[in-house]
Amino acid sequence: MLLEVRDLQVEFRTRDGVAKAVNGVSYGVDAGETLAVLGESGSGKSVTAQAVMGILDMPPGRITGGEILFRGKDVLKLKEEERRRIRGAGMAMIFQDALSALNPVLSVGDQLGEMFVVHRGMSKKAARAKAIELMERVRIPGAAQRVGDYPHQFSGGMRQRIMIAMALALEPALIIADEPTTALDVTVQAQVMDLLADLQREYHMGLILITHDLGVVADVADRIAVMYAGKIVESAPVRDIYKAPAHPYTRGLLDSIPRLDQKGQELYAIKGLPPNLMNIPPGCAFHPRCPMAQDVCRTDVPPLYEVSEDRGSACHFWRECLHG
């Protein structure tokens, strides 16, 4: 396993109380594999990623338990300086909004080149040449002419390509993409996603794709982990999930995708709201919104049941869900 997260727990201490953002998340990703982490806003998917990268704001954030094994070593036990060296070179992150994730006062060439100056100790001139090479690799037309341009002079899709180029610069073994296409319009989304998938194959990287868009996931992911209230509720290979979800929450998500044959009908929506993280419901956190909930769901926290060899579901009634 390239990256293995084991029983990770993260909480935020605020004036109003403790928000339990991540409550025992475990997932893993291999080299060359794409894991999609799916969930609503506030499900803890981004916080988990920030904890893995080591860029969680602490305080108010706090990792209260669990392990994050990168190439078999627990990065939570490393010194800050050692962790910093892993960031960028070993694992890198692509952010959602490239306009705000790129420094407005530095040219893109400077920002790309910085990776080589910081980690490889290259001269400015060599770093500039590398920056052009990277821009060509992410298919930015006229890279050599545009290397001195500033982020605001690029279109949204081009900026996201630059963000991808920055993450790829040192050929890290793992890339975490936090909603990389959410800020883009649909045609550009597809191009950026394709590019990311191509580059991942080329470099044989592990990719964690954080998203709330099931459409994006279907084409590129190998596995899906569905998160709810800071827990993984279902984890399965991508085709299994689309064929038959084993958790009512996953089913709800799938049913909320607009489909062509549903024209004119009202779109399905999961009723209710995501839980308040300061006050997560007892038992199964999803029970107040679950159409299949029984008494046991209100009292007993469901473990991650083994549905098949490489599939798990945290639902007491996963069988009914799978076959219903």
Partner: protein, 326 residues
């Protein structure tokens, strides 16, 4: 600011280049919309930095050129006042007191019969030295302490904030009377030191605030996620994005320092006469404003022009450091 001719060839070039095949129409279109493209990119791929780009922009900004010329002229007469004014500023002839403009004394004579032109030229050295040194000192000390406090937060931040509160509570004039009255040296340095001592908290507070704002930007987290160290984040990513308000306040403060020197001299705790400064002259001439307004007008005018030049310079530099305004 300065005019940016639209260069169609540059803006379209990218779409014509090879490797654009996978571009959907929508994206090709947005590319073309890139406003004007950057000016004078020069040879393709030539390394440029924030400062060299800013300099490229400044060179063709008339506001910058005019203010820079005025400042260069001030520096010149501060170094070599005798080049444009003959005679000594200390040679005064009471019989000529309050006389108006005449050959050899274009600005007339003041209440003591001193040549106003000569004194104004010689006063530049003191006033510019006080203004520039006090501003630099305040800006360096204030922004260093302020940005460290803002960046690291926590205890160091609380400590610094309380210290600035204490300094804010000291009234400037009273503080000057107390602190400077014990100084015997009649040079500009104790005055500058006093100004830095009381002036840095203002800049520190502004630097702290803008560093805290800049720190919350996504690109700071992105830089951290790509392995940048604290010092690199502070210097490369936060400082250039937080410097604008500091520049503005510092350039305005420069004028305040020159006038503060005048105030302190007027109270007798700043510079004392054999020194020549605009502040001394302004305070000496103000009682005679009805009889000899010229004696007040010229040093005040010089002071106003200096302050204006520095404020304009600060404004131009601030704009040049923001690529979005280019």
């Amino acid at each position: 600011m300065s005019e940016r001719p639209y260069d169609p060839e540059r803006a379209i070039a990218p779409t014509g280049a090879g490797g654009a095949m996978d571009l959907a129409a929508s994206e090709a279109e947005t590319l073309e919309k890139t406003p004007g493209g950057p000016e004078g990119t020069g040879p393709a791929g030539k390394p440029r930095s924030l400062w060299s780009d800013a300099w490229r922009d400044l060179r063709r900004n008339p506001v910058f050129l005019i203010s820079a010329l005025v400042i260069l002229f001030l520096v010149f007469i501060s170094l070599w006042p005798s080049a444009i004014a003959s005679g000594s500023p200390l040679k005064c002839d009471l019989s000529k007191a309050q006389e108006g403009s005449q050959p050899g004394a274009p600005f007339g004579y003041d209440g003591q019969g001193c040549n106003v032109y000569t004194r104004t030229v010689y006063g530049a050295r003191t006033s510019v030295t006080v203004g520039v040194c006090a501003t630099l000192g305040v800006a360096v000390l204030g922004s260093a302490l302020g940005s460290l406090a803002g960046f690291f937060g926590g205890t160091s931040d609380s400590f610094l904030s309380r210290v600035t509160d204490i300094f804010f509570a000291i009234p400037v004039v009273l503080g000057g009377l107390v602190l400077l009255s014990v100084v015997t040296s009649n040079t500009v340095w104790p005055v500058i030191g006093f100004m830095v001592l009381l002036g840095w908290p203002q800049i520190a507070r502004i630097a702290r605030g803008s560093v805290i704002t800049a720190k919350q930007n996504d690109y700071v987290q992105a830089a951290r996620a790509l392995g940048a160290s604290n010092s690199r984040i502070l210097v490369r990513h936060i400082a250039p994005n937080a410097v604008a308000p500091v520049i503005v306040v510092a350039t305005i403060a420069l004028g305040t320092f020159i006038t503060l020197e005048a105030t302190l001299s007027y109270l007798g705790v700043g510079l004392k006469p054999p020194n020549v400064s605009w502040g001394i002259d302004i305070s000496a001439a103000s009682p005679y404003i009805r009889n000899a307004p010229h004696a007040l007008l010229w040093p005040s005018g010089a002071l106003a022009l200096t302050v204006l030049a520095f404020i304009m310079l600060g404004d131009a530099v601030r704009d040049a450091l923001d690529p979005k305004l280019r």
